[in-house]
Subunit: 247 residues, 2 copies
Amino acid sequence: MRLDVWFSPLGLTPGEVQGRTVLVIDILRAGTAMCAALHNGARAVLPVASTEEALRLAQTLGTADVLLAGERNCLRIDGFALGNSPLEMTPEIVRNKNIIMTTTNGTPALIATQGAQAVYPAVAANLTRAGRRAAEVWERDHDLLILCAGRENRFSLDDAYCAGRLAVEALGGHKRRKGLNDAALASLDLVRRYGTRFERPLRFSSGGQRLESLGFGADIEESSRVDAYPALLTYHERRVIASPVTP
Amino acid sequence: MRLDVWFSPLGLTPGEVQGRTVLVIDILRAGTAMCAALHNGARAVLPVASTEEALRLAQTLGTADVLLAGERNCLRIDGFALGNSPLEMTPEIVRNKNIIMTTTNGTPALIATQGAQAVYPAVAANLTRAGRRAAEVWERDHDLLILCAGRENRFSLDDAYCAGRLAVEALGGHKRRKGLNDAALASLDLVRRYGTRFERPLRFSSGGQRLESLGFGADIEESSRVDAYPALLTYHERRVIASPVTP
């Protein structure tokens, strides 16, 4: 039984994913925006790879209950209703909507999980819910893969720290080493280093610095809030939805 | 002025490397074996990508002063004189030899640096020398790239920790954050976590575990020895040589 962390989807093969339970992390900001949207009543988030695909899908679905969301270089895509900020996903705006979303890092990471047994987008905003599901999988002796979206296919500190936090939840602590790959060990080391507050690694990360410089500092704060939008998200048949809560 | 760490060569583009000074790390074991060989009097190490290329090059060079070295799955390649262990590189065996070497991770990392201004293989065995050179480059306001060979193009804890140690040498400490990419920050975090002894991260790493299971535990100990083979190595025109020491 293994827990592997990947710091980006680059090099991930279908064989690595096949039949496994995968947690996908893009904390700044796509994953957090999805949590906010679905917690606030959106029906589904539909991640797509490109602006063109988003427009095509919107045309297919009809526009009444559809919103387009997404960013390039952290900025809202021209002509889209929404960017990528969790703060935009208010109940008034998203309730009962299908949100078609395309982002630089989060979307490709979700698409890379094709063939997985189950896929759960996970961030600080739904940490306990996603972590509990990971722990259940681990306790049933099943393999886990925690996939960081990273930044442009590279290591990002924000996602890597979040991977460590989820690993702690899954393992019930951070002392275990057996069955963990090197990236999982390092992500646990980041938790030891930064403790329980998300904000510091998020602010230190290059993604966080970039957001700050663009005036999105409030998004970092929002994305750091543990269990701010406590929904268990699942990605299945190209849609992210909030699972009904089982007591 | 930037210091970037890459946890594997995967995704590294010629643009990232162009004109920069690059330190290349493969501590378990190719980089350490190169240090040992060159410190012990080998003329040069010639890294090549494949067994076939190694045999072809040996034929071109003639066999008198040539040795073949390398591994696949950590084991000596059939018909090669040497594997990949620093302990094999004794003065008796390597003096005045050209060593043609092909390994799973270290060789591709060196080849990925094409176009760099200067390339220095760096490990614990030559930490101070390589670190001093990195510090000189940094002090002249030039960019640095520390490239981990990793393990099969993935993050490896042993190389990542070593990257952190070299970053500390280059920066003269581990407090700086400006100009560092996220991987550089995380590698410094690993130094905070593991302190100054190389042996623990090397033994915890999956590469280390694999070596241990094959009976190469002594190689881990050898590769952990700081400044065991204090040569400044340079890689240029497809050869690794020891630089003459400048006082």
